[in-house]
């Protein structure tokens, strides 16, 4: 990765899963690519003026508008007959699931040839681990703290891939930094789609999830192996790809290694919540046929 299109020297936390995701995405997209990013961890850690980690052209405007900015890039390239250039958005879950949701819906609806990549670390990590609509059920964040009256985030994670499919987006996939071959293949496939694509990449956050240093890939793998994160692929609304799980592990294996779930193993009602989370994983197995 020495000659990665995402140069070293960025300011991401040691042990962060996000830069791995970015390197893999850019590696698959190649140098003939323009990237738009919203405000967030990626943006602040990769472009402290006058430095930049980006070896492809990159543009940042605001928090909620990257999909609109990319739409403008794409139509300008169409006007200049440079349609061979890949246009990507790479943004976090806060801008994707919440504040930029309307702009993404617009981008999907208009049918731009843009691949929207969400690196999903399941909360507003850049501002200090506040809850987003991507935060999983009963995870602790700084705005869904645990306490006498609370077991963390009261709501399940928003199903963004389903929302993308509902827009008749030609290509939708989930991916993981623990499965780089799969991730790269999905990015390449998205770029040949005749229209928008949405790829949601699970990218564990060492600060917000609170796990052992050097464990980001392992966390990402556990999310897949517990069936909490199904790796799936839709083409024209049809489920065409499912990454099978060979040895399904109980959700406790995932939850117990992360500080954001620690309370579930101590607090009253925690065991019930773990059972509920296990039921969510089991439902994924059923829904997507994760196990042969």
């Amino acid at each position: 990765m020495e000659d990665s299109l995402f140069a070293p020297g960025h300011r991401a936390c040691a042990g962060c899963g996000m830069p791995t995701a970015i390197k893999l995405v850019l590696d698959a997209a190649g140098p003939n690519t323009i990237v738009a990013s919203p405000t967030g961890c990626l943006e602040v850690t990769s472009t402290p003026f006058p430095e930049s980690s980006w070896r492809v052209p990159w543009v940042h405007s605001l928090f909620e508008n990257a999909a609109a900015v990319a739409s403008g890039v794409e139509v300008a390239l169409r006007k200049f007959k440079k349609t061979d250039i890949n246009v990507l958005v790479i943004g976090g879950d806060g801008s994707t699931f919440d504040i930029g949701f309307g702009a993404i819906s617009g981008m999907f609806d208009r049918g731009h040839r843009i691949t929207y990549v969400c690196y999903d670390n399941e909360a507003y990590m850049n501002t200090g681990v506040q809850r987003s609509a991507s935060t999983p059920f009963c995870a602790k964040t700084t705005t869904t703290p645990t306490g006498k009256m609370s077991l963390g985030n009261p709501r399940p994670k928003k199903d963004m891939p389903a929302i993308a499919v509902a827009h008749r987006v030609p290509y939708v996939a989930t991916a993981s930094i623990a499965y780089p071959v799969d991730l790269r293949r999905k990015v390449r496939r998205s770029l040949s789609a005749d229209g928008p694509a949405y790829i949601q990449v699970n990218a564990p956050c060492i600060t917000g999830w609170s796990f052992e240093a050097g464990d980001a890939i392992e966390q990402a793998r556990l999310a897949v192996d517990t069936c909490l994160l199904p790796l799936i692929e839709y083409v024209d609304g049809v489920l065409v790809g499912v990454k099978k799980v060979r040895r399904k592990r109980p959700v406790e294996d995932y939850l117990k290694t992360q500080g954001r779930y620690k309370h579930l193993f101590k607090a009253e009602g925690g065991a019930e919540v773990i059972a509920q989370i296990q039921a969510m994983a089991d439902a994924n197995v059923e829904k997507y046929g994760l196990i042969d």
């Binding site: 323009i34 508008n65 739409s71 139509v75």
Partner: protein, 392 residues
């Protein structure tokens, strides 16, 4: 040849002559006719550009950030709530030095909801780092369009522009205008060739984040660019007059100011009404004149001092309020004079709010009130004009 058209059609045609690469719009009254006509031009092949219908004003301006950074000449139009929704993008565009041009139709801001004209919307955005020029009539708004593309795209300026025009009063009026000749416009306004664009052959980072050791320098350069824009507005205005035979003055224009004792200072479509009122008043022996502000940002401080130095009383007439302290033009004008030897009394009239008519009768009343200041001194610096006391 003069043709009678609706103002919005005139604007759309002027935009067409500027050959924008990308237009991105969201409909809002009373801007809609402008963007409808533009979409017709694209649909019937009269305008070769990418026209995108986006899901909000926030996204219309945001998409132009991407298009402009990719090297496109870009245009949008909005008004009122739409401009308010764009607010953070306005600062972002100017900070990124993207020369986007926008016809900003002036309309009141809710609440109460009003679709009618005043200038609260653009006045609230006056610190956003955009050039703001206010048109008196449809022809001026049309003619400003290529001028502002030229000024904004100047490498020494690289600052976005608003052509401000009063909603309904100008957008929906049918009046005779001269259409621009597209070939002449192409000569006047050469294609946009920015030095830095999003290009995989020469990757650049746009919109980096600046810590406190850099931020001030970015703002300083923007401030200096706006100072340069003032000179360019004068220059381009003259160039336009040479090519097209129509001139409007530079940053300001004056009317009947020789020996004027009462000087009105105003902007936008009310200028035309004020001129008519002044003609009548002059015939009655009232020494009244008018300074029309064309460029509100950059603010024509020196020009205003020169034009107003001999008046005995100055009255601003503006369609906005800064709730909590006066109104924008009144405050800015007083600020311009404070460190100068000019000690002429200045009073302000906030009028025409939410579309209430300012006719000749109202202007006469304002002149009458301003004249009294010579004898009585200033009683109230700002008067919210034409308040129906019985409704309160």
């Amino acid at each position: 040849m003069m043709k009678v058209v609706e103002g919005s059609y005139g604007i759309a045609d002027a935009v067409r002559c500027c050959s924008p690469d990308v237009i991105s719009v969201y409909p809002i009254t009373p801007q809609t006719h402008i963007v409808e006509h533009l979409s017709e031009f694209v649909a019937n092949g009269m305008l070769d550009c990418e026209y995108i219908n986006v899901e909000s004003e926030h996204s219309s301006l945001s998409s132009l950030v991407g298009a402009s950074a990719a090297g496109a000449r870009t245009y949008t139009s909005t008004t009122s709530q739409g401009l308010a929704l764009m607010f953070e993008v306005l600062f972002n565009v100017s900070g990124m030095r993207l020369p986007i041009v926008m016809t900003t139709v002036n309309r009141a801001l809710s609440a109460p909801l009003s679709i009618w004209n005043d200038q609260q919307d653009t006045m609230a955005a006056r610190e956003a780092g955009w050039i703001q020029i206010y048109a008196e009539n449809v022809q001026e708004a049309m003619d400003l369009t290529p001028q502002l593309f030229k000024i904004s795209e100047d490498p020494e300026v690289l600052t976005p522009s608003m052509v401000c025009m009063d909603g309904f009063i100008l957008t929906h009026v049918y009046e005779p205008v001269k259409f621009l000749d597209i070939e002449k416009v192409k000569e006047f306004l050469p294609p946009y060739r920015p030095e830095y664009v999003l290009d995989p052959k020469d990757p650049k980072t746009f919109g980096a984040f600046a810590d406190p050791s850099w931020f001030t320098e970015f703002r300083y350069q923007q401030y200096q660019a706006m100072v340069k824009a003032a000179k360019k507005i004068e220059k381009v205005s003259k160039e336009f007059e040479e090519v097209f035979g129509r001139g409007y003055g530079g940053l300001i224009d004056t009317y009947s100011m020789d020996d004027a004792e009462v000087a009105l200072v105003t902007m936008g479509s009310v200028v035309g009404t004020a001129k008519e009122a002044i003609d009548t008043l002059r015939s009655e022996g009232v020494k009244v004149g008018l300074v029309k502000i064309r460029s509100y940002r950059p603010f024509p401080e020196e020009e205003l001092k020169r034009a107003l130095q001999d008046a005995s009383v100055i009255a601003t007439v503006e369609k906005d309020l800064s709730i909590g302290y006066e109104s924008a033009l009144l405050t800015d004008l007083k600020g311009a004079f404070y460190n100068s030897p000019i000690r002429t009394p200045i009073v302000g009239f906030a009028a025409g709010l939410g579309g209430r008519d300012i006719g000749v009768k109202q202007i006469r009343k304002i002149v009458e009130k301003a004249s009294r200041v010579k004898e009585t001194g200033i009683e109230a610096e700002l008067e919210i004009f034409d308040v129906k006391q019985e409704c309160l």
